[in-house]
Symmetry: C2
Subunit: 286 residues, 2 copies
């Protein structure tokens, strides 16, 4: 099972579904342009792949999770637009292209983020599952992703321990990744046991993803990730390599992936795609 | 029926319910402080009053609409926080107090808005109605409130006709006011006829409210509304008095209130509170 092929397939289908949503939005310009610019700027589409993959594991079909997959990517995209703003991380480039506020101005970028977050819940309504609406609202909300961004901002320039760093990541990026797996599983009709196992998988790969990102930021090739290498270190942010060293960080990423694989032990070949995805997270180069 | 007493009663109960939501949010600081600062800064709580009132008209009880009433006020509050940002209207005062970004900084204000918008959908999930989730997402979204804010920004410094002005207001403020009435009615189990009548009421008072606001901005007393009189005119925004003159604007507000009252003609005394509210909109002084 090739993780890249899996991601490519789920990404292509998610993008087609998101295109259908965006085409129906009737947005005033330049807001519609700004939203499409950021939503269709590429990216791994990891959260959709997790939602669709989890649904497929439990019911053999990923279609019930497609509206949620689109919603999760809209929410991820809004968070990138707002995080890049001058008042936040002040990033001019994202995946090698001008960020939304550089291209469309700050006001429209704020509104593009607001619009994507709002329309994500319109898409979620298409799941017909109030459980999905609630799960996503909490994961993206004040004790989840948004709270994690605040914790990250508050921690800048402060010496963090490994526990503090993990608490930030658990909220800022972990909550939505975990949620993607859970919502996909729920929409596939997962048993409580399958939901618990997939939730554990989601928690482990969320953490592994962040450690691997930090390692890539230090060790990666600037061109491959599209932003200056070491940019997190320069802005005084705590990272795994800064706290644990590069070798121990790589080890921890591998241990976390092993724990993710262990969480899938009750599943058969239907979970092979998720096994490949977990391995891919620490093996990828961008 | 006293509209002020009605607003006061619904506002007090909505604030108690919002307090219970906020107490359960487990927000990192200063994000929790920022959210509470803006959410409990007063205000008429017009949208909750409309949602609760519509529900009460159709079923004699406003309790089924309370989660939606809270959600609508969270969304209204988020929109004020983001509209006040330096990149948007750049307002330092709101209801006579420092705006959220002046008090907590721009980054936390952006996140406070994001958090309120997200948690509104968690509250909406408590209605158990996917129709309510969808209705609010669309009214607040890219073809509704957020789109209206973009239209308003794009129109700054341009000469607008009355149709252009109304199109902006219909999206920017009208959509959420109309939605408040509709969602309340839906949650009360309105018949299609009652829903259509209340929708028309909501559209008319949304428009009347905006005309009256523009009139107050020209004619009102600075202390009473808490922002400099004429601030819209100064920033080159089109207003009803600028386009139609003050007298014709007052007349149009009254005609629009009359249309709102006409929309209620099939209801009996159970709609007296809404009749009083419509009259209050043009009679209020702040």
């Amino acid at each position: 099972m090739d993780a890249r092929a899996l991601l490519r397939d789920k990404a292509a289908r998610t993008e087609a579904a998101m295109r259908a949503y965006a085409d129906a939005w009737n947005a005033p310009e330049p807001l519609g342009d700004a939203v499409r610019y950021s939503l269709f700027a590429g990216g791994k589409r990891l959260r959709p792949a997790l939602a669709l993959g989890a649904c497929e594991i439990v019911c053999g079909d990923d279609a019930p999770a497609m509206p949620a997959a689109c919603a999760l990517e809209m929410i991820h995209t809004y968070s990138l637009i707002h995080d890049d703003l001058p008042a936040m991380d002040d990033d001019a480039l994202r995946r090698g292209q001008p960020t939304c506020h550089v291209k469309f101005g700050e006001a429209t970028a704020i509104l593009a983020g607001d619009a994507l977050l709002t329309m994500a819940f319109d898409a979620l309504a298409d799941t017909g599952s109030m459980e999905a609406v609630r799960e996503v609202a909490r994961a993206a909300g004040i004790a989840g992703m948004v709270g994690g961004q605040q914790m990250d901002l508050s921690a800048e320039g402060k010496a963090l321990g490994i526990d503090g760093l993990q608490a930030i990541h658990r909220a800022k990026t972990g909550a939505l990744i975990r949620c993607a797996v859970r919502v996909g599983a729920m929409l596939g009709g997962a048993t409580p046991e399958a939901l618990a196992a997939l939730t554990a998988y989601g928690e482990h790969i969320g953490l592994a993803f962040q450690i691997a990102d930090d390692v890539l930021d230090v060790a990666g090739d600037e061109a491959a990730i599209g932003k200056p290498v070491g940019s997190d270190a320069k802005s005084d942010k705590s990272t795994y390599p800064a706290l644990l060293g590069l070798d121990r960080s790589r080890e921890l990423a591998q241990e976390t992936v092993d724990a993710a694989l262990e969480a899938l032990s009750a599943f058969g070949p239907e979970a092979d795609a998720f096994r490949a995805l977990a391995r891919y997270i620490v093996e990828r180069e961008h």
